[in-house]
């Protein structure tokens, strides 16, 4: 079971800045465990961020995004209380969506 994405969104001077920390191992498929077996690739492939249901960022990841992906972006508009949602999908079909209000 995946852990929630930590999201913080703050609006200031007409710009909303969104900071996100996704919880994911981001295994590249080339590492080996203690018994020398390859650890299968397991990583987020797609992310989508929405502001009140409207898409504000869409991203695609390879395996070289660091473990527990961190992302900051900015969009014009946004007011206190508006909803920011972040959803991701990984290469094993797991997905997750989290939402916060802009502060």
């Amino acid at each position: 079971m995946s852990a929630p994405t930590k999201i913080r969104a703050t609006a200031k001077d007409g710009i909303t800045e969104v900071r996100m920390l996704m919880q994911h191992d981001m295994e590249n498929g080339r590492r080996k465990d203690e018994a020398d077996n390859l650890i299968p690739a397991w990583y987020i492939t797609e992310i989508k961020a929405h502001h009140n249901g409207k898409i504000v960022l869409e991203g695609r990841f390879g395996t070289a995004v660091s473990k527990n992906p961190y992302l900051v972006f900015r969009f014009r508009g946004g007011a206190t209380g508006d909803k920011i949602a972040l959803s991701w999908l990984d290469n094993q079909g797991d997905m997750r969506s989290d939402e916060v209000g802009i502060s």
Partner: protein, 154 residues
């Protein structure tokens, strides 16, 4: 010699031209056609392959793109990168590393209303050049920066 040039031109027309035409005709959204070319781009093992897959044949250097990284990264598993593009209507930002096992790290579509600004953390296998590739109005621009990596983390 002549054959080589023709071949190059042909490839250019095939990749850039074809995708460009489809995009202009409005037949594909940047996101909708992504599956195939992104798969190829993420699998690319050389910068040339990656750029080719993305339809970015020879991106122009642009001083309007700021790329911020540490000069020296102690740990290649977590290297902070910020890309700030002041090119108006930046539609896509991609981050590549020229000496990683695969070149393309991440690619972002920037809808109207979202700034050409992104911060993330990436893995680097060794000392290498981080490239920010920015797409504006179907054209690609780039900025790059070398990062010395003490301990590889790919």
């Amino acid at each position: 010699m002549k054959a080589g040039i023709n071949l190059e031109r042909r490839n250019a027309l095939k990749t850039g031209g074809w995708l460009g035409l489809l995009a202009v005709a409005g037949l594909i959204r940047p996101g909708a056609a992504s599956a195939d070319w992104l798969k190829a781009a993420f699998a690319a093992k050389t910068i040339g392959e990656a750029l080719d897959a993305m339809g970015a044949l020879i991106p122009e250097n642009s001083s309007a793109i700021q790329i911020t990284t540490p000069e020296i990264a102690e740990n290649g598993a977590v290297v902070p990168v910020t890309v700030d593009s002041s090119l108006s209507r930046t539609e896509q930002i991609s981050i590549l590393v020229d000496k990683n096992p695969t070149m393309l790290v991440a690619s972002f579509d920037i809808p109207e209303g979202t700034e050409g600004y992104l911060t993330t953390r990436i893995k680097m296998a060794q000392t290498a050049t981080v490239i920010a590739l920015v797409k504006v109005n179907g054209k690609f621009y780039r900025a790059s920066k070398e990062v010395k990596v003490m301990k590889g983390g790919c």
